[in-house]
Each structure stands twice: as structure tokens, then as C-alpha cells.
């Protein structure tokens, strides 16, 4: 009989808990910020917020999100503009661009020139500007059966891997998820003039960079990775960098606003403020000195892409280029 009473109380307690949970959502001040220690300094600014709260929504990639750079930028940006809540959806590059094309985000930050150019030329994106870069590295087992170390450049390296793999001496692991890294890898294969698709030595994980590295490490395989993720895992895996530095390995980060003429609901002004911050001296310094796990993950390049051997008229045209647009925006303060 005692057990019955206990059961009765427990059941009532659990039901009360359920009802409480259903109700508590209505007692929250705002639907977000349920974290007890909100990360940005916005809460402590008791200065009367001049405008109503805006939620800025960025569509970006999982690899950029994983670096933690956006969290650092958010903190600094929100302390300057407390009425803006910076949020982002981190998905694959293809999906991020799709989200932008559908008007479900205010701006897109990606690192795939071809897709971004199409995004802009089709009228979905405006005022795109490259603000940072890092690079990819070709990783492989220390024994290097394909002799990638001797290759002069990315194309030769990929050709060497293909030949060795066809002879059964090497394996390649690909992300296979249409991410920025994956698309760059596909570009390099096609530049090398070979087709790995469907081969038994070509393994597509369909997953993020971390898991792909794990798989490649387990298989003692070659793989293409962004330098930041590699640096984060360097001590946990046996793979080493066998080829780097080729301009083909450059990974350029660009921020593009979603066209307000196509989607009037986007927060155009706030997006402009955000991107201006990215290319401002303060923002560039923040990005250039950002480290994770002791390693510097990004280099800045606002206004000096040409240094890397890339001339993009969209950005650098004297009259209509975006670099000029943002410089004027910044000087107006």
C-alpha cells in the first residue's frame, strides 16, 4: 500500500513538472536568451536602447562556425550595437546559399567563389566583400606512399595520389557533402584531369571536417582539410601536411547581403553595419588576431586581395567596386 502512495505522489509530481514546463515558456521575457549567462554584453547595457531589438540572421558554413570566430565577433559587435542580436545558421555551403536565395537569412558568409558569384549575378546578393582568408592543406600518412611531398603544386599532388591509388597503394577520404572543402577538392581533381568518383579507394563520408579527419586517420588515407580544423586536431591524429601553399588552396571568406529589393523583410541596415564592422580596422584586427587552441586561424585581406594574385573587378573596380563602397561607408562613420 505504501508503494501505491509513493507512486501516486511521483506521478502527480511528474505531471506538475510537465505542466510547469509547458507554462514557463510564456513567462520568458524574450523567446531566446534562455541561457542563464548570456554570452554577449548586451544585457548589462542599461543605456536606453534607441531602437527595437533586431535579430540578425546569418547563413554560414559549419566549418566557419566551428572555428568560433563568429562568437568572438558577435561579442564585440553586440557591445557596440546592443539592439542587434547576431544569430547564425550553420549548414553546408550549398545550403547556406540556398537559404540566402530564399530570403530566409539577412546575409550569407561563405567561401566558395563560384557559388557566391552566381548568387550575386542572379541578383540575390548585394555588396559582397572578401574579408578574410585561410587555406587548405593536403594531409596524408607520414609514410606518404604516393610521394606527394615531391609534388610541385596542388595539381601534381592530386595527380600523384590518383596514380598511387589506382595501383592500390593509397586511399583518399573526401567529405562528399558539397561543403566548401568538398567543392574545392572536386575542383582540384578536375584541374588535375582525373575522376576519382566511384573508385574503391575514394571514400566519401558525407560528414563534417572533424569526422572526415578521424576516418582518414583511421584508414591512413590522404584528405583535403582546412588548416584550422587540422591545427585543432593535430595532436590527436597521425596525418601530416604533405602539400600546401599553392594559390589553388586559398580559401577566401566573403560576406554578402541578401538583396532587400527581392526580400523586403531582410534587415538590410543591420547587415550593412555588421559587414562594415568586419572590414573596419577594429574588425580586421579582431579577425587577424583570433586564435583557437593556440593557433591563428585567419588572415585578413580587406582591400588587398590583389596581393594574393587575385583580381576581382566586382570588388576592386575604381568606380563601382565594393571595396570603394565600404571604404566610403566606414569613413562616414
Amino acid at each position: 500500500m505504501k508503494a501505491r502512495v509513493v507512486a501516486g505522489w511521483l506521478a502527480s509530481f511528474l505531471i506538475g513538472l510537465v505542466i510547469g514546463l509547458l507554462i514557463y515558456q510564456f513567462l520568458l521575457p524574450t523567446p531566446y536568451r534562455t541561457s542563464p549567462s548570456p554570452p554577449s554584453g548586451a544585457t548589462k547595457q542599461e543605456t536606453p536602447t534607441p531602437r527595437k531589438q533586431v535579430v540578425l540572421r546569418i547563413a554560414t558554413t559549419t566549418s566557419l562556425d566551428a572555428t568560433g570566430l563568429l562568437d568572438a565577433i558577435k561579442k564585440r559587435f553586440e557591445s557596440k550595437y546592443p539592439w542587434i542580436n547576431v544569430t547564425w545558421v550553420a549548414v553546408g555551403t550549398g545550403q547556406a546559399i540556398e537559404i540566402g536565395k530564399r530570403g530566409d537569412a539577412d546575409l550569407v558568409i561563405a567561401h566558395n567563389r563560384d557559388l557566391e558569384n552566381k548568387f550575386i549575378s542572379e541578383g540575390f546578393g548585394v555588396h559582397g566583400i572578401t574579408f578574410a582568408y585561410n587555406d587548405f592543406v593536403l594531409l596524408g600518412p607520414p609514410e606518404d606512399p604516393a610521394r606527394v611531398k615531391e609534388a610541385k603544386g596542388a595539381i601534381e599532388a592530386f595527380k600523384a595520389i590518383f596514380q598511387a591509388a589506382e595501383q592500390g597503394k593509397a586511399v583518399f577520404v573526401s567529405r562528399g557533402d558539397k561543403s566548401g572543402t568538398h567543392l574545392r577538392e572536386l575542383l582540384l581533381w578536375s584541374q588535375a584531369g582525373v575522376k576519382p568518383a566511384g573508385k574503391s579507394w575514394y571514400k566519401e563520408t558525407g560528414q563534417g571536417m572533424a569526422q572526415t579527419l578521424m576516418v582518414a586517420d583511421q584508414l591512413g588515407a590522404y584528405t583535403l582539410s582546412d588548416r584550422s580544423t587540422y591545427l585543432a586536431f593535430k595532436d590527436k591524429i597521425h596525418l601530416v601536411i604533405l602539400n600546401e601553399g599553392d594559390p589553388l588552396y586559398l580559401n577566401l571568406y566573403r560576406a554578402i547581403l541578401v538583396n532587400p529589393k527581392k526580400f523586403p523583410n531582410v534587415h538590410y541596415n543591420e547587415s550593412l553595419l555588421f559587414v562594415s564592422f568586419l572590414v573596419s580596422p577594429e574588425g580586421q584586427e579582431l579577425i587577424g588576431t583570433y586564435t583557437k587552441g593556440g593557433a591563428k586561424l585567419f588572415n585578413t585581406c580587406f582591400g588587398n586581395l590583389t596581393k594574393l594574385g587575385i583580381y576581382d573587378p566586382y570588388e576592386y573596380d575604381e568606380e563601382a567596386g565594393q571595396v570603394r563602397f565600404y571604404r566610403e561607408l566606414l569613413s562616414r562613420g
Binding site: 501505491r4 509547458l22 536568451r33 540572421r57 545558421v89 526580400f263 523583410n265
Partner: protein, 218 residues
């Protein structure tokens, strides 16, 4: 990730799945009972359709709902994409066929005598349904809790329509995806532990309800 964020993520998971299943139960239990007691020409087809939808892949549901809620979609004006509300809608649609589909056999498997007796009382349909729901309540509750388990453990629908935005639309399952992707496996294990505890709690509740309700029957 600190304990505060873990709490926030857990509460959000419970809120999203709890609200969704609460709504789908209110509708699904009645709908299922009505279908069970009715005889109409297309009944077998309807039941088959419900059973089919019970197995909808959450990812597919998420994508279709995303297309509807997107700014470029028919319901874009609502602007609820990437909010917990969208996640609740997704899980509501996911669990509605489950609750309905499990209520139907719960009622249909009642002994013939009690079903006939209730029918012989010649009550209006909603009263007949009420009495039958009372008779079948153990199995119906089991169905509701099965739906809740499904909701709490799915990731495909909520990640697409919610966007897995930190502090806002990140729940236990999507957090597991995020931290797995970024390689922070020990955080993943903590999240997995909490998720398992939630399951355990659900099962304890099922046990208690069966005990309490069953005890009164004989």
C-alpha cells in the same frame, strides 16, 4: 559548454517536444477513437495512410515544412522559420500520425463485450468516444509516450526548420550533431547522458501510470 547552457538546451528540448506531443495528443486521441468506432467506405485506406505517415522520415518532413515556412514559400509571411515555434509545428506533424495510429488499435482491441455495451447505450459519438478512451487509457497513454520518445530523439526535422542556432533553437539532439561535427566528443557524451536520462524518466512515468491505473482494475 557549461551547466547553464546544458540546462537551457534540455529545457528547450522538453518544451518543444512536450508542447508538440501535447497538441498532437489532444487531436490524435480523439481522431483515432473516432476512426476506430466509425465504419465508412474508405476506412481501410485511411488507416493505411495513417500507418504510412507514422513512419515519415523526420528529415523529409523537415525539408517540406522548411519549403512552406521559407520566405519564398506560401507561409513565409509568418516569419517563424528558425524559431522554436517552427520546431514545435514540425514535431506536431511528426507525432500526430503516431498518436492517431496507436490509438486506433488501442480502442479496436478492447474486448467486444465492452465495445458493444458502450455502443448499445446509444450515446452521441463524442460521449461514446469518451467512455472508450477511458477503457483504453493504458494503451493510449503508452502511445502518447511513444510519440514523445520519438519527438525527443529525432533530429532531422528540428535541425532543418530550427537551424540549430545557439541558445535559441538548439536542442539535445541537434547539439549532439553540432558538437560531433566540431569534434568535441566529451561534450557529446554529456549530452547523450542527459538524453538517456530523459528516456529513463519517460519509461519510469510509463511504468508508474501502468502501475497506478492497472492497480485499480483488479
Amino acid at each position: 559548454m557549461d551547466a547553464g547552457e546544458l540546462t537551457q538546451i534540455t529545457l528547450l528540448s522538453l518544451r518543444v517536444s512536450g508542447t508538440a506531443v501535447f497538441l498532437s495528443s489532444i487531436i490524435g486521441v480523439w481522431l483515432g477513437t473516432y476512426i476506430a468506432i466509425s465504419r465508412f467506405k474508405m476506412k481501410k485506406l485511411v488507416v493505411t495512410l495513417i500507418d504510412t505517415f507514422m513512419g515519415t522520415p523526420p528529415v523529409l518532413l523537415g525539408l517540406v515544412l522548411y519549403l512552406f515556412l521559407s520566405r519564398s514559400g506560401p507561409l513565409g509571411f509568418l516569419g517563424i522559420l528558425f524559431t522554436p515555434e517552427a520546431m514545435i509545428i514540425a514535431q506536431f506533424l511528426l507525432t500526430l500520425p503516431i498518436v492517431t495510429g496507436l490509438t486506433i488499435p488501442a480502442v479496436e482491441s478492447l474486448p467486444r463485450e465492452i465495445r458493444e455495451y458502450i455502443k448499445s447505450l446509444a450515446l452521441p459519438a463524442h460521449y461514446e468516444a469518451l467512455l472508450l478512451i477511458n477503457e483504453a487509457k493504458i494503451n493510449i497513454i503508452g502511445g502518447v509516450l511513444a510519440a514523445f520518445s520519438r519527438a525527443v530523439s529525432e533530429v532531422g526535422a528540428v535541425i532543418i526548420v530550427g537551424g540549430n542556432i545557439r541558445y535559441y533553437t538548439r536542442v539535445l539532439t541537434t547539439a549532439i550533431v553540432y558538437y560531433t561535427n566540431s569534434g568535441e566528443f566529451d561534450t557529446v557524451l554529456w549530452l547523450g547522458l542527459v538524453l538517456t536520462l530523459v528516456y529513463f524518466a519517460i519509461n519510469v512515468v510509463i511504468l508508474l501510470i501502468r502501475y497506478r491505473v492497472g492497480e485499480r482494475s483488479d
